[in-house]
Symmetry: C2
Subunit: 458 residues, 2 copies
């Protein structure tokens, strides 16, 4: 049906011809595993591809994956733009000049992450470009694929920081000056420079406008798998805040310092972490500590200083605020010698410790755009032909779509992942489900492209 | 009174002449601060000497301090022997050949330690050698100063490990293979070799016998200062055990993993640490966590693995055992989803975590030798001339005297330290108190030397 040298306009295809466009599952999976040679992580199975990923943002391996992204999309006819946050926009021209309809996600991973979180979304976008090329198709408006920088927040501790700068919700200066989790000497700017991805185009939606943003992602939770469904039509993203908590007491000898004379920052931090769980559970929210460092770090020295991360989440902004407020009050009381955590906890010391809060990330709850949600729902229906396999859901994780949605119509597509496990080397989504997700992504973009054209004509 | 070229026998001195021997306070303090140029730590005051120390065992700065020790004691007429654990014995000949009466302590420090813990004891021993040389005195039997390796257990996680090998209570192989706290690649043996202190003499009391061991040390606790006393006559050392606790759960996403699906190693570790405090308090024992590491260490990943140190102490061996037994039981129960720690703690997850214990150090309670205790008490009485300034005490910290006491009569001398603070850069003992302690050490050694001669004559 789609032959010849001159490009064929998607507008000239019948609805059935358009619907019949399919992704190539093997090509998609081969591409995914090909780029996972850069930053291969912990092995968990005997198959070649049964390893996790460890590709921290702006590392050498991230640079290798980025180089592949640029080369591949250029060879597929895209023009590629790198902005001042290293966000990379690969744009395939359409029949009319206008901002592109984009598929976006990220190539960076957690230190012990998997092969799908972020990576699937980028590769699905590239598979879309390949399908358009296979069929020599020209869309109404440009379409593109965006690789956003440091989505994970694992190396530089603001997640989605680079889409946040693009949306003008985070300042370029703050982002460029971000240091590494755990205290390395590099900053985002120095690493962008080092790997050659400090672009000259301003990181802003004004310089690089996007008409709409679609993101395919693994669910990272257990619902689709449990309900034997294939596609989640994501309505929005829950709210979250990240904090760094510093507890300051006094270094002292573990053998000669009676409990009454201690200001034990580790004991206090332990109580605060346990208490954050208590309070979050009461509010049906989530609280988690993923990073903790202490000093000086000697078996027989009571730590004088402990620093830990606190991640609070809830679908409702006000609940995140309520948990934070309660914890600010209770942490101060516990550190001052009270036992707001557990009335039976022995009050062994009258020494007061200091607790200091730094807010690192604030991501308010997001509702995605009805047009994009509708495009995804329609695409899922046509790909699967069975409404029972599709459900609406809310994302527990943040995604670049959160910030994209501040500046353009946006929504997301979820596919199941095994046991709901993510941020873990064993993260896994079947080739079949990857392909279904990529096909829904492609059709969502094409439907949105047609919607734009229809509206233009009116 | 003590002039002339030929050495004067201490046996030929009257009791009053012997008692009148004094240390040189300025020389002692100058020597201490001179060697503190190697491994100078955090500054806490404006005076030159108002810094802490950071001289980890077998580091480059430890080598520099050791080289000074060897050179200085040789120049004071000592023969110097280095054993296979880097223990360094500086021995000044006496009138008769026999094992030496020794002053021993250590030159290594905590990562954020002070200028007195260990260092004072070594320098007081050297000051004794200088006083004997000033007065051209010859003791009945050899006297010596011993620098024991890695007393702190801060770099290689068995405290007093090298005196333990000398006492044949710890195997040379286990000690040589000890790796660094926090996971460096060096071992004790590789570092001994690297800095040139892997001696050829076996590390054993059989190869290097000692007749008696005296150790001057800062109290590291608040009692002498609070009671306005000057000398503690140490009766013994409380029992302690060190453990490494490994908690294993599962890495997962903080935003998408409901509490019910988590196996959160950090939350569990926090509860275990808080609980160790509860149980220790109930037994009037001590429990402390000075080291904690987790993986993977990302704000939005629930840690799958946490490792922490646990230090349990009590003057009574059975109490340490009881606290350990209770914690082994309760830790397992908490990690399996129970709430032995706090009946009101929300039981949010049914996932079981694994808790694994490794015993790193066992130091049973010690009673020092009556002869040595008597020598210290008599020396303190003659130096201070006021019994009200002297008290008996038990050491909360371990010392090389614990292992020395297994193989020869041993006791210790404590001097006050400011606010009872130790393992802290601000650790401080006044020059006056350092000198009093050094003088009591010298007279304890000389009294014991005379006691040996008296017994020999009988
Ligand atoms: N999808 C994902 O893991 N994003 C990172 C931001 C977050 O922690 O939710
Ligand atoms: N004195 C001293 O700090 N020794 C180290 C062993 C211990 O922790 O008690």
């Amino acid at each position: 049906a789609f032959q010849g040298k001159a490009q064929i306009s998607t507008a000239s295809l019948s609805e059935d011809e358009l619907k019949s466009l399919q992704v190539d599952r093997n090509r998609l999976m081969n591409d995914i595993h090909h780029t996972c040679q850069w930053g291969t992580g912990k092995r968990w199975g005997s198959q070649t591809t049964e390893t996790g990923m460890s590709r921290l943002a702006l590392s050498d391996t991230d640079k290798q994956a980025r180089d592949w992204f640029v080369q591949t999309t250029k060879s597929l006819g895209c023009s590629v733009t790198v902005d001042a946050m290293g966000n990379t926009f690969a744009i395939r021209p359409g029949r009319h000049e206008a901002p592109p309809t984009c598929a976006g996600s990220h190539l960076d991973t957690q230190p012990t992450g998997g092969r799908y979180d972020g990576i699937l979304g980028i590769h699905a976008g590239i598979e879309m470009l390949k399908v358009l090329q296979d069929h020599n198709l020209e869309t109404e408006y440009p379409v593109g694929v965006v690789n956003w920088t440091n989505e994970e927040g694992a190396r530089f501790p603001i997640s989605m920081v680079a889409s946040g700068v693009w949306a003008e919700e985070i300042s370029l200066e703050r982002a460029h000056n971000l240091g590494e989790v755990g205290g390395g000497t590099a900053t985002m700017k120095s690493e962008l420079e080092r790997i050659g991805y400090l672009g000259s185009v301003p990181a802003s939606h004004r310089s690089m406008p996007i008409a709409a943003h679609f993101e395919l992602h693994i669910e990272q939770g257990p619902i689709l798998e449990a309900e034997k469904q294939k596609i989640g039509v994501v309505q929005g993203v829950q709210a979250y805040k990240w904090f760094t908590i510093d507890v300051a007491g006094r270094d002292a000898h573990t053998g000669t310092t009676p409990f009454s004379a201690r200001a034990d920052a580790m004991l206090t931090a332990a109580r605060l972490i346990a208490h954050s769980h208590r309070v979050a559970a009461k509010h049906s929210a989530l609280a988690s500590t993923g990073v903790l460092t202490l000093s000086p770090g000697s078996v027989n020295t009571i730590p004088g200083n402990v620093r830990f991360s606190l991640d609070i989440r809830s679908p409702v902004d006000a609940t995140v605020e309520a948990v934070e407020a309660q914890l600010r009050k209770d942490f101060a009381a516990i550190a001052s010698g009270g036992n707001a955590d557990d009335p039976s906890f022995p009050q062994t010391s009258k020494h007061k410790l200091a607790v200091d809060w730094t807010t690192d990330t604030t991501s308010a709850a997001v509702n995605f755009h009805p047009d994009c949600i509708a495009a995804v729902r329609a695409a899922a229906g046509s790909v699967l032909g069975d409404e029972g396999l599709v459900r609406d859901m809310v994302s527990g994780a943040g995604h670049d779509s959160v910030y994209a949605s501040r500046r353009c119509p946006t929504s997301m597509i979820f596919v199941p992942c095994r046991n709901g496990v993510s941020h873990n080397p064993e993260e896994h989504t079947s080739p079949e489900d990857c392909a279904i997700g990529a096909e829904v992504l492609m059709h969502s973009v094409l439907r949105y492209d047609q919607l734009r054209a229809q509206r233009e004509r009116r």
